[in-house]
């Protein structure tokens, strides 16, 4: 791994104006991704993980907008690029795999055609149809779509859910991107298919050195797949560390809450304990720690000011005042 990260988010903030007020869906997120790294972003739905991914690609639809921060890709700030230059990056350098494969594939075009489009947009095969088609069929068999020559002309609704997700991955891989943003890639799939897809992504990472950001609500899945994990809550990162650090020695009460929520077959039958309370209204996040209201270890001071990150071990950052003895990052 080189020293300069492949992708670095600095204080990224994305807001959506709503009738109730300004929703800060992504608040002050700083994160880095190294070449070939497997990074997990974990949090419950609505915590801003997907919006973070879309912000990197500048795909936030109006009236939402990226209000502040930087997204440095190989040192270049994506947020400052022209629309044309940004399009050069989308799909080519940074590709995305979306959550719901059926609604993400265009129902009106054959699957093969949709994979080919990625090649054509970025002139991968010199816009030469036969060469493009050949490459598409290669890609389809690489992601495990059987008899790709026949399936080239089939439409999304003729594919099973797992095959649709493989097709989506093929679309994302078409231009051999350096980063793959995978937004809940397996949520809508069966458990067995889930394992196959995760396996496929791991192989891609090993074979091509593609860095993968896995966005999921499933901490277990992230723990199994990723080298580092970032935990998000109410638009903010609350804890970042290597998978071992986060899973074995979770420091933020929210992370611990997430871990006790996961049913385990291996250990003795322990009670699944839901975290009490609800996620705060994102238009009206209280000052201080957003999790404070639900936290069993809350102290009055927690609700005063924004909590900074504390580095409690090399590379293990946590936004919790219980660690105020450590040096603020």
């Amino acid at each position: 791994m080189t020293n300069t990260p492949l992708l670095e988010l600095k204080n990224l903030t994305t807001v959506f104006p709503t009738r109730r007020g300004l929703v800060r869906a992504v608040a002050d997120v700083s994160l880095s991704l190294a070449q070939g790294e497997l990074l997990g972003i974990v949090g419950e739905s609505g915590c801003g993980k997907s919006v973070t991914m879309l912000s990197i690609l500048r795909l936030i639809s109006t009236p939402g907008r990226i209000a502040a921060g930087q997204a440095l890709f190989q040192g270049r700030d994506l947020l400052k690029l022209s629309d044309g230059a940004m399009r050069q990056i989308r799909g080519k350098d940074i590709a995305m795999v979306f959550q719901d494969p059926l609604s993400t594939l265009n129902p009106a075009f054959p699957v093969g055609e949709q994979i080919r489009e990625s090649l054509r947009i970025h002139h991968i095969a010199q816009n030469h149809f036969a060469r493009e088609k050949e490459r598409v069929i290669e890609l389809m068999s690489e992601v495990g779509i059987s008899s790709p020559t026949d399936r080239f002309h089939e439409y999304p609704h003729q594919f099973s859910g797992g095959m649709q997700q493989r097709a989506l991955i093929a679309i994302a891989l078409a231009c051999e991107p350096k980063i793959l943003l995978a937004d809940e890639p397996t949520t809508s799939l069966d458990v067995t298919i889930q394992a196959q897809i995760m396996d496929l992504m791991r192989r891609i990472n090993e074979a091509r050195g593609t860095a993968i950001v896995l966005v999921t609500h499933n901490l277990d899945l992230a723990a199994e797949f990723c080298q580092r994990i970032a935990v998000m809550y109410a638009g903010r990162l609350v804890e970042i560390g290597t998978t071992d650090q986060v899973i074995e020695t979770p420091q933020h009460p929210y992370t611990r809450g997430l871990l006790t929520c996961i049913p385990r077959i291996s250990a003795q039958r322990t009670r699944i304990e839901p975290i009490p309370g609800n996620v705060p209204d994102l238009a009206n996040v209280p000052p201080g720690c957003a999790f404070a209201e639900r936290c069993s270890e809350m102290q009055p001071i927690c609700q005063n000011d924004l909590i900074p990150f504390f580095e409690i071990a090399p590379g293990h950052l946590v936004r919790c005042l219980r660690h105020s003895s450590a040096t603020p990052d």
């Binding site: 799909g91 995305m96 993400t104 129902p107 009106a108 054959p110 990625s118 679309i171």
Partner: protein, 336 residues
């Protein structure tokens, strides 16, 4: 494979046409009023013998089911009877008038598509912009406006006040045109007759706008709302994530899907256009089928009404067929 399916679908329209013919037949025979009285008009001086003769000639003295047999047999041979009033075979009258109506309907459909497609797309892409608000206000007026009045206002402005467009008819009296198909614009193209082309296009303009305005308004509204829905979809997001240009995102990925509900609406509007023809042909003294039907209704010329209803039914069935076929090309999930 697709061709066989389409052929099958075409064949299923035949029983429908038979059903329509039978319904039309009974509808008309069961209406009060003796056709012979109408034929002879109010000059009631006709002798009993003449009446009997006419009754026999039109098979009116036979039982109803025999009459139906004659009617269907004749219809199959392309004989829809004889107009009571105009003393001409109904088929001849219809064939004579049909091209004018087809020409105006095509003109109206083209104009409404030319207006509605860009407006529907642009106002969805630039939702809430000035263009969107103006277009939707215009579309609102379009659906609230009676077509005949729009035609009259257009005549007043362009023909009476500005005097740049003709107010009635299909072609000026002093322009000569050799008829080939009966569609004047097409005929003047085929015969390379430029003055006639210009003249017939000018005549076609106001009627087509009048007939097309309401349809354009509806198409624009439907296209806009389905574009708005499609533009929010995941696959549009994916197209952007691939790096596709905005043009491709809108014109390829979004439009292709937004057209599916729009095509259904356009198909339904063809029926509306057929009704509108009667009005617009009256306003512009356009010698088409609609005007013929309205006259036939006034004169209670039942064979002619019967024939016209058949033509409308055929048009309607054919339109549905075209829409269905178009649909399978747009929407891969649907097979005929």
């Amino acid at each position: 494979m697709k061709a066989i399916k389409i052929l099958e679908r075409v064949l299923t329209t035949i029983p429908i046409m038979f059903g329509v013919a039978i319904i039309v037949f009974f509808f008309i025979r069961l209406t009060p009023g003796d056709p012979v009285d109408i034929m002879l008009g109010r000059s009631a001086a006709a002798s009993q013998r003449e009446i009997e003769q006419l009754r026999h000639q039109f098979h009116l003295d036979e039982p109803l089911h025999v009459q139906l047999g004659y009617f269907l047999g004749d219809a199959l041979r392309g004989n829809l009877g004889y107009s009571y009033i105009r003393n001409k075979p109904v088929v001849d009258l219809l064939v004579e008038r049909l091209p004018a109506t087809i020409e105006m309907t095509i003109g109206a459909l083209l104009i409404s598509l030319i207006i509605a497609l860009p407006i529907g797309i642009l106002s969805a892409v630039r939702q809430n912009s000035l263009l969107d608000r103006l277009s939707m206000a215009g579309a609102f007026l379009g659906i609230s406006m009676p077509g005949f009045w729009l035609g009259i206002v257009l005549i007043l402005f362009f023909a009476v006040y500005l005097q740049i467009l003709p107010a009635q008819g299909r072609i000026s009296y002093d322009v000569e045109l050799q008829e080939v198909t009966g569609l004047y614009v097409l005929d003047s193209l085929l015969t390379g007759n430029l003055p006639a082309l210009k003249d017939s296009l000018l005549h076609l303009l106001l009627p087509s706008i009048t007939l097309g305005a309401g349809v354009a308004a509806i198409i624009a509204r439907v296209l806009r709302s389905s574009m708005l829905e499609v533009l929010r979809s995941d696959y549009v997001k994916l197209a952007r994530a691939k790096g596709a240009t905005e043009w491709d995102v809108v014109m390829k990925h979004a439009l292709r899907n937004a057209l599916i509900p729009t095509v259904t609406v356009v198909g339904l509007q063809v029926g509306v256009l057929l009704g509108g023809n009667m009005i617009v042909e009256t306003v512009f003294s356009w010698p088409g089928l609609g005007r013929l039907v309205v006259d036939a209704i006034f004169n209670r010329d039942f064979p002619l009404i019967q024939g016209a209803v058949m033509i409308y039914a055929i048009t309607f069935v054919l339109t549905n067929l075209v829409v269905d076929i178009l649909y399978t090309y747009l929407n891969p999930k649907i097979t005929l």
